[in-house]
Symmetry: C2
Subunit: 249 residues, 2 copies
């Protein structure tokens, strides 16, 4: 059998924030390989599938990745619909490249189903636009996390040059992040909004300034953490919160 492998974005967390297409592919799946952060309710959409956890934590990346690649290739020999389910979107910090390449080299057809990335769910919850007109017309998404042997890149400079910045996978590195951003010219007074577990019941929003970021986080939280910064999280955020409170009565 020549099965097809779907790399599917599960979205930010809540099970109903997957796309209709993603849900349909899950319903048809014979086997699903899923990341640690995928919600149980999302997995439950795959009613007929064998479900296999392949969540990897940093540090043991490359071995785990080769193992996942092999399992995906093997699965396509015995299942018509194979799903690789990833938190968020596969093409934005989703590490899809290695899997894509391995599958293509093995001659297996691949389709990618995009997903809602966490920053958009966090922005929806906060009700502050990443690109509020008159304040922000550019937004940069980065991760400061690099694997062993990867070249350094100037993620802090990329944030400094944009109106709004969003840092993925920065939990537990608040001190290094703050130091790098300040060295790149981001003022310590820059408004910061930390959103944990965006779109889930355990969602938390914490507003602070860049200078106070090192005092935050480190070890407190199990779920995904977004560090968002820029002028939009200053007065606009405060006004939006006041407005939402007024609207709720």
């Amino acid at each position: 059998m020549a099965g097809k492998v779907y790399l599917v974005g599960a979205g930010p967390g809540a099970a109903d924030l997957i796309t209709l297409r993603g849900a349909d592919v899950l319903r048809r799946a014979g086997i699903v390989f899923f990341d640690a952060l995928v919600h149980a309710d999302t997995l439950a959409l795959a009613v007929d599938a064998e479900k296999i956890a392949v969540g990897k934590r940093c540090g043991r990346h490359s071995t785990a990745q080769r193992f996942i690649n092999k399992r995906l290739i093997d699965a396509a020999a015995s299942h018509a619909v194979v799903v690789r389910l990833k938190g968020g979107d596969p093409m934005l910090f989703g590490r899809a490249h290695e899997e894509l390449q391995a599958l293509q080299e093995a001659g297996i057809e691949v389709e990618i189903v995009p997903g809602v990335t966490a920053a958009l769910a966090a922005s929806a919850a906060v009700q502050v636009s990443l690109t509020r007109r008159g304040v922000a017309r550019s937004v940069t998404f980065v991760t400061p996390r690099t694997a062993a042997g990867e070249p350094q890149h100037d993620w802090a400079g990329a944030i400094a040059a944009a109106d709004t910045g969003v840092i993925y996978m920065g939990a537990g590195e608040a001190e290094e992040i703050t130091r790098a951003l300040i060295a790149a010219g981001v003022p310590a007074s820059t408004p910061v909004l930390v959103v944990e577990n965006a779109s889930l019941p355990a969602e938390e929003q914490t507003r602070l300034t860049l200078g106070d970021l090192p005092g935050f986080a480190a070890g407190r939280h199990a779920g995904p953490v977004l560090i968002m910064l820029g002028r939009v999280y200053g007065d606009a955020y405060a006004a939006a919160k006041a407005g939402a409170r007024a609207a709720l009565g």
Copy 2:
């Protein structure tokens, strides 16, 4: 009646790339105000709703926006579920801020349902990660379009500082975009990928270099256009295409 207004991201184009939550809200809607770029099949999900086109084109922004705000507020007086349906995601170049503010000032409850933004759908179609490991760890989304009276901002500098850049709403301004990016230090040899109508049957991918961008586009295309640039669209794109062709036999 105190209705609730939902700002819903319709996703990049294809009707099945809306979220389950977005589709559910549309099914329950009594009235839907939709943008010009929302697909007819997406609208059809709102089986019981009155549907009102409020697509605005640039140039007459502020008048049109005040009118939309007023209609949303009025609609909440007579409908339990009011949907404002926007292409892509409401919080990323979705101009949600003015509507949010007007609704909050009117004491109306608002919920935002995030959507898949066009750049993620384009990346899925192209099968090239925006943040391919070892090549790109930062991605910047900008629009060069500013409204009359808005302060200038250095969108080109923000692109220059990131590994991957995505320009929204740049169609018809290829020459100015190219000039600004080159002035900001982006080499003319930088690989560019233009994706039109991402996720729709009319989707087109064109690969070129930044230096050749002014010769492209201008007036050729009706749908939304994304200009994507960076190293990931160089050899990686070519390799992915070759791999996908091999996989398809």
